[in-house]
Amino acid sequence: MAAKKRSIEPLLWVLFSAGGVLAALLIPVLLLLFGVVFPLGWLTPPTHEHLLAVIGHPITRVVLFLLCMLSLFHFAHRFRYTLYDGLQIKHLNELINTVCYGGAIAGSVVAGYLLWQI
């Protein structure tokens, strides 16, 4: 009998779930401030100096990295099933998985690189 193959699905689900929590907690306020409030001039955007100091702080870097990585895996997992159930694209399953999770991994590497350098 072939050795039992462990499914990677539970791990992907944990990443999806953790990403869902972090995205729900952090993205609304960040997107509201940097995507709507500052661009529309409702409040003055922070100075470059201040923002560099905030992002440069070790705790911020860790939080931002976890936010980026887990949110991207959250996206990959959910989007994959949206295509599967919603549009019933099943014949391209392998390609979709590769693009979704590959994209999440690539995005995490970029986030890690950027936050490491700052």
Partner: protein
């Protein structure tokens, strides 16, 4: 082999009864549309992360790049995209926190903690985290 008094079984499965589902099944009812809207929110989660990384990259490269990033974000197209994204992200957050009581069943002294408490704790955490982030960004 050919005993006529017994029913004949085939080795193979009969065809499954699987009615074909329209690709656009989710347009048929408002509740289906809300479901697919919640699922599609993940695309806007991904966009938000890309946007955040563009901001971090610009801040990293220096004050001039940060200023041109701010100019770019003031464009009508980017603002519209971010307003739409914000709506979907809030849809994600609300549906996520509303589902939290079903995902985490807590018991205290043998009794199940009421669902409204767990959802309430999640909303409280959301408000608290948002306030802290806003204070860190704005008070400089």
């Amino acid at each position: 082999m050919n005993q006529t008094d017994k029913p004949i079984y085939t080795e193979f499965h009969p065809r499954w009864y699987r009615p074909r589902m329209s690709t656009y099944w989710w347009l048929k009812r408002p509740s289906y549309l809300a479901f697919i809207g919640r699922e599609v929110s993940s695309v806007f989660v991904a966009w938000s992360i890309v946007y955040l990384l563009l901001l971090i990259g610009a801040v990293h490269r220096g004050a001039d790049d940060y200023r041109s990033f701010l100019d770019w974000t003031g464009g009508i197209g980017v603002v519209l995209l971010n307003v739409v994204s914000f709506c979907f992200i809030v849809l994600h957050a609300v549906t996520w926190f509303n589902l939290a009581p079903q995902a985490m069943v807590l018991r205290y002294k043998g009794k199940r903690v009421p669902e409204t408490w767990i959802a309430g704790a999640n909303y409280g955490a959301w408000a608290f985290v948002s306030l802290i982030v806003a204070l860190i960004v704005l008070l400089g």
